[in-house]
Symmetry: C2
């Protein structure tokens, strides 16, 4: 459901992984569905969500998080009992609560957050290898069906992902720090610039602000949905900037160097870990 | 003088541009000079700065900014009258003041800031095309010799750079916003993370923090040298984060979306401009 970058890439990745199935796409724009059919991203297109799920064993929600509630209410009556429903949403507390309440016993919901994507948007950027080596966080709760959890876990692994399980609360808090906060910071870095400074910007500035190229509507939904964590992260981050301000004194040079070196080393360690995950020997 | 990433790349770029000259490298580590000789980055190596400049028409300072003062005092007596001296330092007010006072009338100083490089360090990462299409800011003053300014301008252009002239004050203020501030912010983003969040970080986080991989000593020099501007930029940036905090309310969704979209569009425009500069039709 939702044939954009993520939904489209799932379609391609499922075929590339050799999973036997028919991929049915729902989208509210006919042109998108036609592109998706043409690209071989989906096998069938449906213009009503309830028509897309009626004969499905599996449903993956790939629309913006803000649309989940309405969509789940619309599809719930059409789902066969035992249907597995998962999603690709960047926040999990609200999604899991909404899904468990909307689906009740009729279907098995398992929250997923495949941490892959880019600032690009739309099915035309879909790639079969988008998920390879990246992490997928599953957020089961006490209500989650264990067999459904296993199936969803195996599904993302079949697409090449490294799965990990977290409570919805922990997911939203931790992902805020390493994704929602960096996005906010990158957008603020662009927003505060004067044109004459921006004219001098180079590759470093473009890299630092790459994530800020993401779609505003999508990110508004994420930031508002996770606003308590975003506010807490922003405040902690502001505290770190205050630390730095305190070190901008000639007699603090050694402390400043250590702070900068520690950040550089920590990032180098992270990069080495990620490269090893992506390209294991 | 200084055979690292920038000094080494200048050596390679000068040869690639077909400029007739002998490149003499000064460095305080023999191993670095030997690597530079082996890579063809320099034609001759000297272990004392005054020996490196004694027969030179041109001197380019490529050591960290913090070493400039001592270095300039050491080479000043050895420079032939009329020698052109420039640099690659990331700050310009202090550099220009120090250089003009240290060199007096004996040589012609022109401040340069070639905005190329990476978070990597060392001659082994030197590349002949490092400067191609990137910007170089020249910071002449009332004392600058016009012919020397022209020569330095033509030199960077011969290496493929797009030159622009700014007053040292304006340089330090504007470059702070698009380079020193993003570096500070990226380092703070790494520094404030908890290990359990960092374990979930992906490509977005690595891109946002790439510049924080730079050398701590080098960046300490830059941030301290430009500390008044860095503090002012950090405070303006903090104000932008406060704006964002105020928009994290459900009834501010439209304002938040516009703020995010404006940042995305501004960055997209910048990216398009830079790509056009790098690859003109």
């Amino acid at each position: 459901m939702g044939v954009g970058l993520l939904g489209g890439s799932i379609g391609l990745a499922v075929k590339a992984a050799g999973i036997e199935c028919r991929v049915i796409g729902y989208g509210h724009r006919r042109a998108t569905l036609d592109s998706a059919l043409e690209m071989g991203v989906i096998d069938e297109a449906r213009e009503k969500p309830e028509d897309a799920v009626v004969d499905s064993d599996w449903v993956i929600l790939c629309t913006p998080v803000g649309l989940f509630e309405a969509l789940l209410k619309q599809i719930a009556p059409a789902l066969a009992p035992g249907t597995i429903v998962t999603d690709v949403g960047s926040t999990k507390r609200s999604v899991v609560t909404i899904a468990e309440s909307a689906l009740q016993q009729s279907a098995h919901f398992v929250g997923s957050h495949p941490m892959a994507g880019s600032e690009k948007r739309g099915v035309e950027f879909a790639r079969a290898d988008l998920f390879k080596g990246a992490r997928c966080i599953l957020t089961p709760t006490a209500q989650t069906d264990p067999a459904a959890l296993r199936s969803v876990d195996e599904f993302w692994q079949a697409l090449g992902m490294r799965t990990v399980q977290l409570m919805p609360d922990d997911h939203d808090r931790l992902v805020c720090d390493i994704s929602h906060l960096p996005h906010s910071v990158a957008a603020a870095l662009v927003a505060m610039q004067q044109d004459e400074a921006l004219a001098l910007a180079g590759g470093g500035f473009l890299d630092t602000t790459r994530v800020a190229g993401g779609d505003g509507g999508l990110w508004r939904d994420i930031l508002l949905d996770n606003r308590d964590n975003v506010a807490a992260s922003l405040k902690r981050f502001r505290g770190e900037l205050d630390e730095l301000l305190g070190m901008l004194q000639p007699d603090q040079g050694e402390r400043l160097r250590q702070w900068l070196d520690a950040a550089a080393q920590r990032r180098a360690h992270l990069l080495a870990t990620k490269l090893k995950e992506l390209h294991p020997e």
